[in-house]
Amino acid sequence: MTGTDNILSARGVRKTYGSFVALNSVDFDLPKGERHALIGPNGAGKSTLVACIAGQLPGVEGSILFKGHEVARLMPAELAKRGIGRTFQISRAFLQMTVLENLTSAHIISAGRWASLSKSLLAEATDKAGAMLATVGLSDRAQTKVADMSLGDRKRLEFGMALACDPDLLLLDEPTAGMSIKERHYLMDLVAQRVDETGKTLLFVEHDIDVVLKIAQRVTVMVRGSILATGAPTEIAANEQVQAVYLGGHH
């Protein structure tokens, strides 16, 4: 589904670390409701771009419009409130808390009531968390400490947490890294399903070409801080430049 409405528009986004240019004046448009993959070799700047959009990096130059508003220099918490949900490349969750507690926290935070002392709010959030558990298929792990869980389950949890805030844009940074093939497809099918059901937009960084071909409606290839090509997955796969740089080799 392509709309003329872009939920995200980046112009001239540039991020340097000293003399190292991680992102070199990137222009990028993301239509609302699209499932978009970001691929490229290591060091291409994919995670950096995601981190810039998520507000995590200082010193970002250029403009990033989200839902029409300039957000390039806002903090992550502010962006979360505006509707960006994200997962991290190295899965981040509240390790010493149970799965249920993690999701409960996510719901409390998204309700904006973090400072409340209300037990009923806590109960409400716990109920919602239970529902989210079912959505991501972790109901049998409600009382498990996250630190004791497998990577695949943690990634599913993280996805659930990102969903809990009902974001309009989901930023997933290598959501399937380290997972078995079966787990990968399970998770991404789940992601795609949720995204479509709720009309959300998805931008995900991915290395597994099968997943990309299956899930993405459009693909952007990045190399050394710049965008090399953008288009439908099959187009990109056939693109000679892309093949030379990335797909030609193995991954």
């Binding site: 981040r92 969750a93 010493q96 926290s105 973090w114 037990k119 806590l122």
Partner: protein, 317 residues
Amino acid sequence: MSRSLRMTPARWAALGAAIIAIELANRVGGPGMSLVLAEMLILALFASSLNLLMSYGHMVSFGHSAFFGLGAYGFTLMVTKAGLPVEAALVFGPLAAALGGLVFGALCVRLTEIYFAMLTLACAQITFTVLFQWYDFTGGDTGITGFMDARFGLSEANFATLTLVVLGVCLAAMARIINSPLGMSIRSVGQDRWRAEALGLAPRRVQLVAFVIAAFFAGIAGTLFAVSQGSAFPDYAGLGFTLDALIMVVIGGLHSFWSGVIGAVIFTQLRHWAPLFTDHWELALGIILLVIVIALPHGVASVAGKLARMLGLEGRK
């Protein structure tokens, strides 16, 4: 971690037994015992306030004694300088401590980990030095004495009971905070501030709230301590009390609500009975700490938990 707060019937029974044991020792053991118990319970409150910060907020403070001292002096100065009656002045101790927590906290939460700890140390040492040097206002190193009858004039036993009640109320309040959305937020930021931030939480704000709450309860402990001694000294804000509190929390274990209490009980009893057997109580303490850290990295509370489970006293894991 709030697992340690889940009160099963077995745990209620254990708690009840502990309270009865303390009261018994209080009434039967004589005034000397009562004084020791009162000190133990006050330190338990102090250590629990630090525990709140450390076990739940994952914020290691090297300057918690600042609030203990501010609590003592906030109360005392209201009596000596503002002429307030003792009962009315009591509320100003925790208030001064909370204010200190707000000011120091606003600065300290800008940093993380070791630098956060260092700044808290600086704040505490500044507090101590000001109390120590500002002779005209705070009485300097000679402290403030003789402004009230120690313990409100209560008998040692009655005062110890009072501290037990205050401790109970404060612990209940802390438990309420932990088992609330605020408690979850504090724990979230403590576990992974980036994850919390990506969900929409401003970590510094949450940490500041946790800091102020911990300072408030430390202030209550400091006020009680001033009452128990009938005096206030700059030492109350000194490194000694900070180290004591850190040791108590570590002995108790870092992942339990009860760490502060358990640690305070063990530490205070050790401090009182060890000198009877040896001149070298600090050596003993050092060695015990070494052993605990090496052998029991999760402190005594974890052992107590395991023991209880082994004995079948816990309903679930």
